[in-house]
Symmetry: D2
């Protein structure tokens, strides 16, 4: 951490700062520039220290230089993490495809979807039993009944299942049915929930928050790892910007950035990332070309009858076409299908 | 809700749409424009219907026209809601000031702060016992011990107390100590928590999410009212934008907009809205002039020793000066102090 | 255009509106919904009409339904526009690569770059002679001398040249040297400049503004076409968001959206879209997979000595590697190289 | 400027960096932290240097510490600049009000407006003769005829006149009619135009760009001062965010920030800052309370017949009411009316 002094600071302000740093167990290291005096703060600094130092007399700005995350970083673990879910390895050489309906609605809807996405080459089944909903008057999911249906679909198709958990007190229940716990975008900074899934011995997919920086996202993942759960994958699902044509703006650069900063696998969700079914295929191909370890795609037997997110859901036929187009793009960047 | 047809739509697409609408219990009302054909959908529409209709052949766009919120709206209740907390009325003629430290740290820190803000004219004491923290390695609050200290400060000063609740399973505990439950910005769409505070018989302050639209914010408030709790106030605390000079961008227009759309009281939080203590006073004055029903301000005996948010905390002296400047501005817009 | 009436509007307000519409040459078409009354406005509406109608008594909201652009739209011209620049066709089957330094600095720098990018497979040379610069004290380009060097590089390598024009009065000068006029992001709504390049008989590349919606971008292109110049291509170069890790957020969805709404070719600029050289290759591959008609990439003999944008410039070696990786991805989506 | 080394950097990378810095005329100042090595770069650094240094082997990040603006800064000139326009002083003790129609439409419209705003207490008349328009098919202003009408209104009312100049080649023309040249938001980084108004001996109002940071805005003002024109005032008119209820998000904090960083006067434009006439008064009061030196407000004899921006224009009656409410708020923060 560095303290940048005001241009007109006094000598006393500088010596006071050095004394205070010493009292706090740090060493101050003065550097006289042409325009500015800077004090390097040597020791085990922490993010909140910046706010304290900014208030000291004579200080103009405080610049942190350490990255606040630890366990999720490449410095901590240089090699890629591979999360195993049944036979499926996420984060390895093969591209993983997660597909299924936004929400579990009926037995028929879910089983049809599960069979169709499996036939088209998907590896993992998705389906929401607990659904976040902007309005209290909209569909909020089947709850435990939805989890039962997911378990049935797993038995029948053999596919592992991912589903969202929205509340700390539901983790125990969802754990009994799911193979991967999903933490949704709106809960990316629900720290109590992060702690709870961190205590679970099960893979977790952490979606990026609507307005979360990459740094904040990694720190939320750090919460889970800090509780002892290393089976974490990240999911880029678009961020909120001024553009209204799409539901969100897919941050394609986030994929190579996560690969650079972290060892955790990164999945792309072009359904939420765009909000429009006809954009899902081109953005899926883009995500694979950019280095994503997997895709998560919403598929529905009849999108126009979907209770949620119909506009961004693919029909079975559209999903087959997507898969047909994904294979050569994956191959072109040296990846096979899981 | 209106269906805008594609320019080259066929006659059959139009008749199919009318038939489907009828099957769903709606009436379709065709309007031939110069460039476009539009079908008005008459009946009790709901937000999700848009997604369904968008997928029908021949449809270019679907435009909802009803506002999705109900109980929080001025249409539902034209007169202002006034939330009573002990002797303090929030949302009435008088301006309410909530002040205190970001986090409860020690007995001395909290009691000193409580006495100082009361002496300067504050009406309600704030202090966090459960603190959201971006990093798992930072201070996360004293928990139950912090609540005990808040209760002690209330006993001593007579001021009601507001404190944050972060998890549904903590509501019962926090209820026993607080006079107002605060739902933080990161939890604005933690729907399980909203349900839970909606069941509580206690005033709730709902902060706006970092990237929440005004419509989404009102719908989150609607969750609480829909559970039967009408004692809700909103708090504008800045939104996330591209500007990095401030921690957030205070959306000053949100104050008159909320007054227009809703009957709920609106509080301004210039501490989080700016992130810098020297901006708190001018932005407080602005919020009062724009019509806010109250201010929430972070105050600390020694901001540079604060465990959280020191950079945006006022000293006792600065807070006194703020109060001295707020009084004439409040008077200039026809408001007295609570 | 639709007028949504207030819930409690009076009968007189409605009849007044119908009368006024008639006086203005429109026909009002009333539709009684369950919650709202809506008036369809039939006739040749225009965007500004919305603002007028919103002010009429009894009106709650006004919803436009026509798209304001004409000549750039797929409705106007269903088949793709192909812009010819010498032997290079932009917008056809083949992927076009534009490469070169951000700014023209010296004869040696430019010629070395031109030879290197040509050898690696680039089709068009880029280089700025007039450079926008945030600070008045930074390098602003060589001006006419830079144009001369570009002409020399074209003579030597045979590659067509693209360069930016920043002021209406410079169009005539730049025209004499360039094969494609570039309008930069900061000038996307410099309407005087758009008019001027619209009068030129030369291909124009219009970059998207930092905070321009897709609709605004298309309307700026409409300016150029409206002046008679149909040789226009668009360039997505990232938008401004809250994320600070990258210089801009590359809006990958803009590529398929432009292909859907417009017949104009779309180029991707991953150099500005990311601001970091090590992100340029993955984002280039993503753009090609998403359907871009071309790439524009900054290349410099020695990025660390570049006068501008060194951090996002590729070395010759990095550019060769990029090209080697682009070829198979282009093939995988059915595209050959130009 | 500081170089933060990678955690695993080699000794050779460090010595190479020191050698290179010496060759470039800088001194490198090494500081060994617990986790990181940092090199202070001592000498006259410049913003672009960051990009160069970032590319050197072993470098993880480069942190600039000087502010890039000079002439506009408080360090350069501690006391407030006061811009004189006829009898009106902008930036002094008195609050200045600029009012008038968005666009000059007719003699009657302009003269009526001029008389009405003068009668209500406005000090300066606004009116656009050259109008930026998103669509090429919309009203773009009366041009020179509009300027003539402005001159006529000045003769009749004695009020100085502000009007926008959109192109460098129009500066000379507009100069002959205007008392203040306005540079619009879309032209904030039209550097050729900034140079040109910098050469004019006339007051300039520089509006903030839709997605301009405060730093970029100050650097655009620096362009004008660097050309020798010190009569510059800034205008906050809202920034583009994700919120769609308002046309822009008024950045109220920008007012005290500009006062802190710069000596230039700051005007608030609540008409563009909100886009809705019923928000103009509360946001005007907020801006005055936050310390603005003036307001710029759009007023029209009949907003519903306005050719531009009717939705955000006040009627004469509304403007009178605004003025009646501004006076006590201005007084409450120690300001009288100009």
């Amino acid at each position: 951490m560095f303290i940048v002094m005001h241009q007109g600071h006094t000598e006393k302000e500088l010596t006071d700062i050095l004394e205070r740093l010493t009292q706090m167990g740090f060493t101050g290291h003065v550097s006289q520039g042409v325009e500015r005096t800077v004090v390097g703060v040597v020791g085990r600094t922490y993010p909140e220290l910046k706010e304290t130092l900014e208030l000291w007399p004579g200080v103009d700005d405080v610049v942190p230089i350490s990255r606040p995350h630890k366990l999720v970083g490449r410095e901590f673990q240089p090699q890629d993490s591979v999360v195993k879910v049944g036979d499926v390895a996420i984060g390895g050489e093969a591209l993983v495809v997660i597909a299924g309906p936004c929400a579990v609605e009926t037995e028929e809807q879910l089983l049809q979807s599960a069979r169709a996405v499996k036939a088209a080459g998907a590896n993992i089944l998705r389906g929401g039993a607990f659904k976040p909903s902007t309005s209290p008057y909209s569909f909020r999911g089947l709850g435990k009944d939805g989890l039962e249906l997911l378990a049935q679909a797993r038995r029948e198709t053999g596919m592992p299942v991912i589903t969202e958990v929205m509340a700390p007190h539901d983790v125990e229940l969802v754990l009994r049915y799911a193979d991967i716990l999903q933490v949704g975008a709106r809960n990316m900074q629900n720290f109590t929930l992060l702690d709870e899934v961190g205590k679970a011995q099960m893979p977790v997919m952490l979606k990026r928050g609507l307005s979360a920086t990459i740094q904040e996202w990694l720190l939320s993942a750090e919460y889970i790892l800090a509780q002892g759960n290393r089976q974490v994958m990240l999911c880029e699902r678009g961020i909120r910007t001024f553009e209204t044509y799409t539901r969100n703006t897919m941050d394609i650069s986030a994929i190579p950035i996560i690969k650079k900063l972290s060892h955790l696998p990164i999945i792309a969700d072009p359904s939420h990332g765009t909000g429009k079914w006809y954009l899902v295929t081109p953005v899926s191909l883009a995500a694979v070309a950019a280095g994503a370890d997997g895709l998560m795609v919403e598929v529905h037997p009849s999108p126009e009858h979907a209770l949620k997110d119909g506009a961004q859901s693919l029909t079975f036929e559209n999903f087959e076409q997507l898969m047909a187009r994904v294979v050569p793009v994956a191959a072109s960047v040296g990846r096979k299908m899981a």
